[in-house]
């Protein structure tokens, strides 16, 4: 579980996050949604420690991440997996080497054991026969799957996904969404997904958090989001013609 308590963040005295307090639950796919520029990426970067919150606390389990120094944070970071918008695979390494990298860096596993674990993770994300390919030889969807395999290779307790299906065609986007949801339940991890894709919300949103102009505006489930009376959230949810037609 991750607790966010009264988090504030500003850039050039311009507040981007205003007093955000919420909880991300274990074994659930927690979605942060909001318009571009609403502050959801900044919130995620604060969660993983790429940015420091000006005020407030971020607590992993019982450990106050905000109060930790570099060395202490490294212990928690080994329990984090992250899927970046552009996958962020290491260009100089093959698919297998990318997946094995966290294992090589943080475990004492033998080469054979690492290869077996990498093969298991690649199998889990339904990627076959791509072991020796370079990232430049992969499609967008394959890159995302390799990034998920790399993220789960070290058995993380927390999985963060920043716009996991941006730039993907609808069937591949749904495939990635379902994969994230399945992995969350299977490994009982705390997953936080940053998205503005309503398909993702309806597919996998166990808990949905709506951020509006840097403020926590609404919290609920994917079933409740369609029936809320919140004007700003409705504007976001029913922004597309498809959703408006479905509503009617």
């Amino acid at each position: 579980m991750i607790r966010v308590e009264n988090v504030w963040k500003s850039f050039d005295e311009q507040p981007v996050l205003k007093d955000i307090s919420l909880t991300f639950e274990r074994g659930k796919t927690n979605l942060i949604i909001g318009k571009s520029g609403s502050g959801k990426t900044v919130l995620m970067k604060c969660l993983v420690g790429l940015l420091e919150a000006d005020r407030g606390r971020i607590v992993y389990g019982d450990l106050d991440f905000s109060a930790m120094g570099y060395r202490q944070r490294r212990v928690i970071r080994k329990e984090l997996g992250m899927l970046f918008q552009g996958a962020a695979l290491f260009d100089s390494m093959s698919v297998t080497d990318n997946v094995m990298f966290p294992l090589s860096m943080f475990t004492t596993m033998s080469r054979k054991e690492k290869e077996m674990r990498a093969a298991f993770c690649l199998e889990r994300v339904n990627l076959h026969g791509a072991d020796h390919l370079q990232p430049s030889e992969l499609s967008g969807g394959m890159k995302k799957r390799v990034a998920i395999a790399r993220a789960i290779s070290i058995s993380p307790k927390y999985l963060f996904c920043d716009e996991p299906n941006s730039g993907l065609d609808p069937p591949t986007a749904i495939l990635i969404d379902k994969l994230i949801s399945e992995i969350t339940e299977e490994f009982n991890i705390t997953t936080v997904v940053n998205t503005h894709d309503m398909n993702s919300v309806m597919e996998i949103g166990d808990k949905v958090v709506y951020i509006y102009l840097g403020e926590l505006w609404w919290v609920g489930s994917r079933h409740e989001i369609l029936h809320t009376g919140n004007k700003e959230l409705n504007d976001f949810v029913y922004a597309t013609e498809l959703m408006r037609t479905l509503k009617k």
Partner: protein, 233 residues
């Protein structure tokens, strides 16, 4: 610098990366170093032969001057400047691209000291491999002079070799190696710095690469003056 020297997460991963970097930054530069050294040695010999054509100067002075020019300045300084262009731009653009494609963020989130893992092995590899390149450059430069002497007869081979061996001091080679180690540190650390702190888009990677080459070259020239003053005078 403090970030670079943090304790490595796994020493064996860093050692392996140093070997890889020695290949990428050093051995892949061997070709250009060899070509430039042979031709520069040949040109220095011809230039010296034409400019020391005086009855009071012994003919072996051509070999002597060629050796001194190559050991003291050409190989350590000019080769380092060439490496600043080739290796410096490579380091800055590689790390800069990793920054803008979030690969560095991925390392940080895993708990890897990205600056240490990406820059420190390059610095150590450069400080090991560049002196080796410079020693090879010295031999090839002198060989270039010998080759042009044999081909054109600007100086007899006997006089050229006598001049090469005349009053040879091993300290001169040591001086060249010390300078090269310092220059190698400058090239890898300055380029690593500009790459690591790249912000924005692909355009910024180009800017970082240019800045890396320009600043590395300026620091090399500056430290060349300081080290010459400290080590030779």
């Amino acid at each position: 610098m403090g970030i670079l020297l943090r304790r490595p997460e796994k020493a064996s991963m860093y050692r392996r990366k140093i070997v890889v970097e020695m290949d990428l930054l050093g051995l892949e530069s061997l070709g250009i170093v060899a070509i430039i050294s042979v031709f520069m040695g040949a040109v220095v010999t011809i230039q010296t032969a034409f400019n020391t054509d005086h009855p009071l100067l012994p003919i072996y002075a051509v070999g002597f001057a060629t050796r001194q020019a190559i050991i003291l300045e050409f190989s350590p300084t000019i080769i380092s400047l060439i490496l600043a262009g080739k290796v410096g731009s490579r380091i800055a653009s590689e790390i800069g691209t990793m920054r803008i494609t979030e690969q560095i963020d991925a390392l940080e989130i895993m708990g890897v000291n990205a600056a240490g893992y990406l820059i420190l092995p390059k610095i150590i590899a450069s400080m090991i491999i560049n002196p080796a390149l410079v020693v090879i450059s010295i031999f090839l430069g002198i060989f270039g002079g010998w080759m042009v002497s044999a081909a054109t007869g600007v100086v007899s081979l006997h006089n050229y070799i006598y001049g090469i061996l005349f009053e040879f001091s091993s300290y001169d080679v040591m001086y060249a190696i010390i300078k090269t180690v310092v220059f190698a540190f400058i090239i890898a650390s300055v380029s690593g710095y500009f790459g690591f702190y790249t912000r924005g888009s692909a355009l910024e990677v180009g800017n970082a690469s240019t800045k890396a080459v320009v600043f590395s070259s300026i620091y090399i020239i500056l430290f060349n003056l300081i080290l010459t003053q400290l080590l030779l005078i």
